[in-house]
C-alpha cells in the first residue's frame, strides 16, 4: 500500500480538528454564558446579542443560531474530509462510506420523489444532516437548535416556498384552480391546509425535541425528589445523594435524544419529499410542455409558410 504524503495526513488532521473544534467552541460558549443553575429551568435559547435597530422586530442572535452555524462549519469540514483524496478507483473505507451515503441518498430521493426531482438529493441530505446533528447536540449538554421554533420554522418555510414554487409550475391559474377542488366551497379549507403544512411540520419537529428535553428535566427532578423521600433516612451524605438519578435518565435520553432526534430528522425529510413531489402536477406539466412545443412548431411552420 502506498503511504500517504505528509501534506495529505496533515490536511486530514486539520479537517478532523475543524470538525471537533466547533463543538468545543459551542461547549465553551455554553459554559461562559450559563449562570449557575437555579433548579428546574425550562426556557428558550439564551440571547447572545441583540440588534435593536432592525425593522419589524429586533434581530436577536441566540444560542440556536450560533449552534447552527457551528454545526454547519462542522458538517462542512466533514464533507471536505470525506471528499479529500477521492479517486476514480476507490480504495479507502472513507470513499466507500461516502459513496454509500451518496447512493443511499439518491436512492431515497429517487424512490420517494421520482426522476424529475433527482437534483433534490443534496437538499434532502442537508435537511437530514442539519436536523439530526442539531438535535444530537443535546448529547453534549448543548442547546439543540431544533428545540427552537424559529429554526425549524425557517426550514418549514423553505419547504413551503418549494411546494408553492412547484405548484406554480403550471401557471398561476392552475394553482388557483387547485384550491377549488374537489368543489369550490372547500376553498377556505384548502387554503388552511396549505398554510397548515409548514406550521405542522415546524411544530412537529420542534415539539418532539423540546418535549424530550422537558420530560427529561422533569423526570430527573422528580427522581431527585423520590430519592430524597425513599432514601432520605440514610445517614449523612448518603441520604442527600440522589441515587435514583443514576442510570434512569440515561434510558430516557437514549430515546428522546438519540432515537427521537434521528427519527424526527428522517420524518422531516420524508415529509419534505412527499409534499414537494406531491405539489408538482407532473402530468399536467408535461402536457402543457408538449402543447407549448407544438405551438412553437406550428408558429415556426407558419413563419416558414410566410
Amino acid at each position: 500500500m502506498k503511504t500517504k504524503s505528509r501534506l495529505f495526513v496533515a490536511l486530514d488532521v486539520l479537517l478532523i480538528i475543524m470538525m471537533i473544534l466547533p463543538l468545543a467552541v459551542a461547549i465553551g460558549i455554553k459554559v461562559l454564558i450559563t449562570p449557575p443553575s437555579e433548579g428546574i429551568n425550562i426556557a428558550g435559547a439564551r440571547i447572545i446579542y441583540t440588534f435593536d435597530n432592525m425593522p419589524i422586530q429586533p434581530l436577536v442572535i441566540t444560542e440556536s443560531q450560533v449552534n447552527s452555524w457551528l454545526i454547519i462549519i462542522s458538517i462542512f469540514s466533514l464533507c471536505l474530509y470525506f471528499t479529500h483524496g477521492i479517486k476514480v478507483k476507490a480504495d479507502t473505507k472513507r470513499q466507500h462510506a461516502l459513496e454509500w451515503i451518496v447512493e443511499k441518498c439518491d436512492g431515497l430521493v429517487g424512490q420517494n420523489m421520482g426522476e424529475y426531482f433527482a437534483a433534490f438529493s443534496p437538499f434532502i441530505a442537508s435537511i437530514i444532516a442539519l436536523s439530526a446533528f442539531s438535535s444530537l447536540m443535546c448529547l453534549f449538554g448543548l442547546f439543540p437548535p431544533t428545540s427552537d421554533i424559529n429554526i425549524v420554522g425557517g426550514w418549514a418555510l423553505l419547504v413551503f416556498i418549494l411546494i408553492t414554487y412547484y405548484k406554480l409550475k403550471c401557471g398561476p391559474w392552475h394553482y388557483i384552480k387547485g384550491f377549488a377542488e374537489p368543489i369550490v366551497i372547500l376553498a377556505p379549507m384548502n387554503l388552511i391546509s396549505e398554510i397548515a403544512t409548514p406550521v405542522s411540520m415546524a411544530f412537529r419537529h420542534y415539539g418532539n425535541v423540546l418535549s424530550g428535553t422537558v420530560i427529561s428535566v422533569l423526570v430527573t427532578t422528580g427522581l431527585q425528589g423520590l430519592s430524597n423521600i425513599l432514601l432520605g433516612w440514610l445517614p449523612g451524605f448518603l441520604g442527600e445523594f440522589p441515587f435514583l438519578q443514576i442510570g434512569i435518565p440515561a434510558v430516557l435520553s437514549a430515546y428522546f435524544d438519540v432515537f427521537s432526534s434521528c427519527l424526527q430528522a428522517y420524518i422531516f425529510a420524508m415529509l419534505t419529499m412527499m409534499y414537494v413531489s406531491g405539489a408538482f402536477p407532473a402530468e399536467d406539466y408535461f402536457k402543457r410542455k408538449e402543447k407549448k412545443k407544438n405551438k412553437k412548431i406550428t408558429t415556426k411552420e407558419k413563419l416558414e409558410v410566410i
Partner: protein, 168 residues
C-alpha cells in the same frame, strides 16, 4: 443573561435559519455530491469505454475466427481438388507412358520382324546357294564319269530352279 421564551417567534431568526439550510444545501451540493458524482461518472465512463473496447475486441476475434474457419473449409476443398487434379494428371501421364511404351514395343517388334524376315530370306538364299554347291559337289562326285560336266550342271540347275520356285 436573558433567554427567549419557550415559544417566541422571531422573523429574523426564521430568515437566518432558512438561509442556514440553503447554505448547507449548497455546501452539500458542491463539496459532497458534486465530487462524488464526478468520480462516479468518470468511473462509469471508464467502465463504458472498457466494455466498448472489449466488445470491439470480441467482434474482431469473432470475425477472425469466422474468416479462419472459412479458410479452413476452403483449404480442405482446395486440397481435395489438388489431389484430384494430381491423380488425374498421374493417371493421364501413366496412360500416356504406357501407350508410348506399347507403341515403342510395337515398332520394335515390327523392326525385329522385318529384320527376321530379311535374315530368313538371306538364310534361304545362303542355304539355296549352299545346297546348290553341295548338290553340285555331290552330283559332281556321283556323276563325274558318266555325264559331261556342262550337261550335268544344266540338269542340276534346272532341278534346283524347280525346287526353288516350288519352294518360293
Amino acid at each position: 443573561m436573558q433567554t427567549l421564551d419557550v415559544i417566541s417567534v422571531n422573523l429574523w431568526q426564521i430568515l437566518i435559519s432558512l438561509l442556514n439550510l440553503l447554505l448547507l444545501f449548497l455546501i452539500f451540493k458542491h463539496f459532497l455530491f458534486k465530487p462524488v458524482r464526478n468520480v462516479l461518472k468518470k468511473r462509469q465512463d471508464e467502465l463504458d469505454s472498457k466494455y466498448a473496447k472489449a466488445d470491439e475486441t470480441q467482434a474482431i476475434a469473432d470475425e477472425n475466427k469466422a474468416a479462419w474457419e472459412e479458410k479452413l473449409l476452403t483449404a480442405d476443398k482446395e486440397a481435395d481438388t489438388i489431389l484430384e487434379k494430381a491423380t488425374e494428371n498421374a493417371k493421364y501421364r501413366g496412360d500416356k507412358i504406357i501407350e508410348e511404351a506399347k507403341q515403342q514395343a510395337d515398332s520394335i517388334i515390327k523392326v525385329a520382324e522385318a529384320e527376321a524376315m530379311l535374315e530368313r530370306r538371306k538364310a534361304k538364299e545362303d542355304i539355296k546357294k549352299e545346297i546348290v554347291e553341295v548338290s553340285g559337289v555331290l552330283a559332281e562326285k556321283m556323276l563325274e564319269r558318266e555325264i559331261n560336266k556342262d550337261d550335268h550342271r544344266a540338269i542340276i540347275d534346272s532341278v534346283i530352279e524347280e525346287i526353288g520356285e516350288g519352294d518360293d
